[in-house]
Amino acid sequence: MAFFSRLFSRRRRYDDLAVSIREHLAERADELMADGMSRAEAEQTARREFGNVGLIEERSREAWQWPTLESMLADVRFALRQLAKSPGFTATAATTLALGIAVNATMFSMVSAFLMPRLPGRDPQRIVVVSSVNPDAGFQADLNPASAANYRDWKADTQTFSEMAAADEYRTGSLSGAGEQPEAITVSAISANYFSVFGVAPQLGRAFAPGEDEPGHDHVVILSHSLWERRFGADASVIGRTVGINREDYVVIGVMPADFRLLGFTPQLWTPLALTAADGAPDARNRRYLYLFARLAPNVTLSDARARIQVAAKRAQQDFPLNEKRWGASVRVLDDFLIANFGIRPALAVIMTVVGFVLLIACVNVAGLLFTRSVGRQKELAIRLSLGAGRVRIVRQLLTEGLVIALMGGAVGLILASFGIRVVRAALGFNEVISAVPVSLDRNVLLYAAIISIASAVLSSLAPALKASRSGVHADLKSESRGSSAGRSHSRMRTVLVGGEIALALFLLIGSALLIRGVYLLDHQKLGFNRDHLLTAGLRLDKAHYSDSTQRNQFVRSLLSHLKETPGVEDAAVTSVLPAAGPGSVPIQIKGKPEERTGEHRSADDVVVTPEYFNIIALPILRGRGFTASDQAGTPRVVVVSQEFARKHLAGEDALGKQVLLETQGGPAEWCQIIGITADVKSFSEDQRVDPEIYEDFEQRPVDSFSVMLRSKVEPTSLSSALRSSVARLDADLPLLRVMSMEGVLEAQRNGNPLFERLLATFAMLALILATIGIYGLIAYSVGQRSQEIGIRMALGAKSSDVSRMILREGLKVAGIGSAVGFVMAIPLPKLFDSIFSGLLFGAPEVYAIVVVTMLLVALAATLGPAQRATRVNLSAALRNE
């Protein structure tokens, strides 16, 4: 209440004050008149003695004000009035900032979603992820999953971890039941204590009970919220129902809440992780597939946990040199792990830098506009200074104007950003892991937008405000001419600003061009095989129906022969991994070549294929032969290796005829003879790596999970239904996973690359446009300022071509110096990018040349208009003007 009564009483206080001062002046005047002065003289003297009435009144009023709030409001009101008087200026400045703020807020929505993940559960800062450290991986080496043996060893250390859970996060399977079409799903197999480590409980039903992760008791399942809604219509009676997973019966025991979500992990359901004795065997230490989530024991710090887990890893290295040699272990806090594992940070850092620069350029443009404006307002400001307004007050007033502009820009920017975020979210739909992350205009984005609005207000208006308030009172009041020195020093300031802006824009353009080129080259690299007219689909033969290898062989043989007879199909093959899709590597031995000297494990990417495979992807057999129908389960084991395999593992020898042993899982290892050498295929479509590959014959090792490939004469996806019916003919309940053309598979593997390229290109163009506007504004303004000078020159006989050349030179000088600075700034970029992005080529001197020439041409074009206009100066008007 005191607050309100004070607000209302203040008006009365101000009136009192005015009355007091008026009486003060009147009485003094009366006295002076009594001494013999005339009325007019007395009143004037009284005023002079009193001092600056307005200022004293203001100071006195300040006693009643929250020190600044009220005068700030007055400033804001004044700023609004001032800005309303020049709507063109206001709109231009606010729009420029709005663009800068919009792109920043839009991109920050991704930062907020991907780098500030909302963590589930209780006290998530105490949850850590324990990973293996892969000695041979360059990329994300310390985020490697761990083996079941690691899990058993490490969770026993209850001094460090009060509880540790394991998850096999990326299983795939088929979900069937209740007469519905079976569908492919992603499954996470978890230890029974998984949810208790996070401290979350199912929304419906219960979590896994201890012992339900033992073999034989493990046919229970917990649904994710989204699957429960989509497939089960959010029906609460689903608890207790039986569903088929890989055609085995599981009982639904729980449904997780919607907010239980880990960035980058999107299982649709959870089943128990049933570890067997075999998982603990020494040779199982090579199978590293478990993510270990643990809660730190009370009073244990992260660095304690790190130290202890490293000791444990050292011990394992000594105890199991064969499998653990050089492998380490690392501990990260949950959010740290999730963000690092998601691997989006470098790309986002680059993009945020780019949009930050765009905003900076926008600020420079607005600063330029404010400079121009303050030149026009010099007299107003000089008058206010001379009337006793303090410099601080003037600066504050001008900053307030900048703030009002920036806040208008921020508001419009947020509206634009809400559209931008929608566009980005649509563009992020390229895979389900990314699209599962909610990108939205959240609190973080709002806060960020507010901060950058204020920052850009200061950035764009501080320099012009300081400069304007510093101008001499007398000089400005006296100077009548627009060509005066004060005007010159303003335009010098603008020249520096525009030069800096061009330097920034050039730097951005070069950086973006290098990155886009690098990503483009990678996306369009030669993969080593023919990707056209191929249809692919994944199949998984479940153990319930295909436990026997002859059953699997039988299935594949009938499927392929049926497919080959399908109209439109040229050929059909089966492969354990699609080409360039990242095959898994296995340790190998070569007979007669012990791995003594190298000290390294020999390994090769292992692919199991049917004989048609080499032909169907047009992968040439360079020497020897491919597989034939005569290579069968009973015949001697044979393999085909890639050129890179021969080069790396059998340099200087004839690979043909050599004996190789693959340490694959399951089944006794057997020596295989190399019968052929193929050309190389890139291991990943999104990397330049070529790893040694070894191909096994499907008949000799019929794996249970594989892809079918069809070569078609027609558009490949038109054969999808034929493929489905061929599979259904053999097994009606078997779901097909990911039916896609090979082109589609490779396109999907590009992941965010196209988006990354588009974003970079868009922002670089925005920077270029803003810089162009900046240089145009500078030159146009300077032409206007110099119309008198130009008039004189022309009156003295300068030709219009001389004048336009003079103006062009001025523009090119700014652009040239700016470009030179930007060029030098951009020189270290390739090295920097090399350290951030692995596997991309950044060495491209021609990019620098092209960008610089483009920049200069654009600057020239921007200067052309004003230069032309300069020659059309109306002589008499220009000279009479002043």
Partner: protein
């Protein structure tokens, strides 16, 4: 024009103290206050209007003064400032602390004199 900064308050609180003390004698309006202080100090102290009115407003805000509409000697409307109870208490506290301070300063200056001579 701009005023001589050396002629501002000698130390903080002095002007407020003089205002309160003057108003203790009788309620006055602004001009009367200024004149009274000037006369009482035999023209040694000139109260700057630039300080007086802000100081009055501060004292009003603190509740040490009260103001009411009144009529000046010449019959024009003005505002009369009067001391409140809390203003009186404040004045007494301040005066005693000022006196202590003056005593202290005077002693120090007196002690310093012989060495000088």
């Amino acid at each position: 024009m701009a005023k001589d900064p050396n002629r501002r308050d000698l130390f903080s609180g002095a002007l407020e103290l003089m205002i309160l003390h003057t108003l203790r004698l009788k309620p006055m309006h602004g001009y009367g206050l200024a004149k009274h202080i000037k006369h009482a100090s035999d023209d040694l102290l000139q109260v700057e209007e630039g300080s007086l009115y802000p100081a009055l407003q501060r004292l009003l805000r603190e509740g040490l003064l009260d103001s009411e509409p009144g009529i000046s000697a010449k019959g024009r409307p003005t505002r009369i400032y009067r001391l409140t109870d809390s203003g009186l208490r404040h004045l007494e506290r301040e005066v005693s602390s000022f006196e202590t301070m003056f005593t202290g300063i005077t002693r120090v200056l007196a002690a310093a004199r012989p060495q000088e001579g």
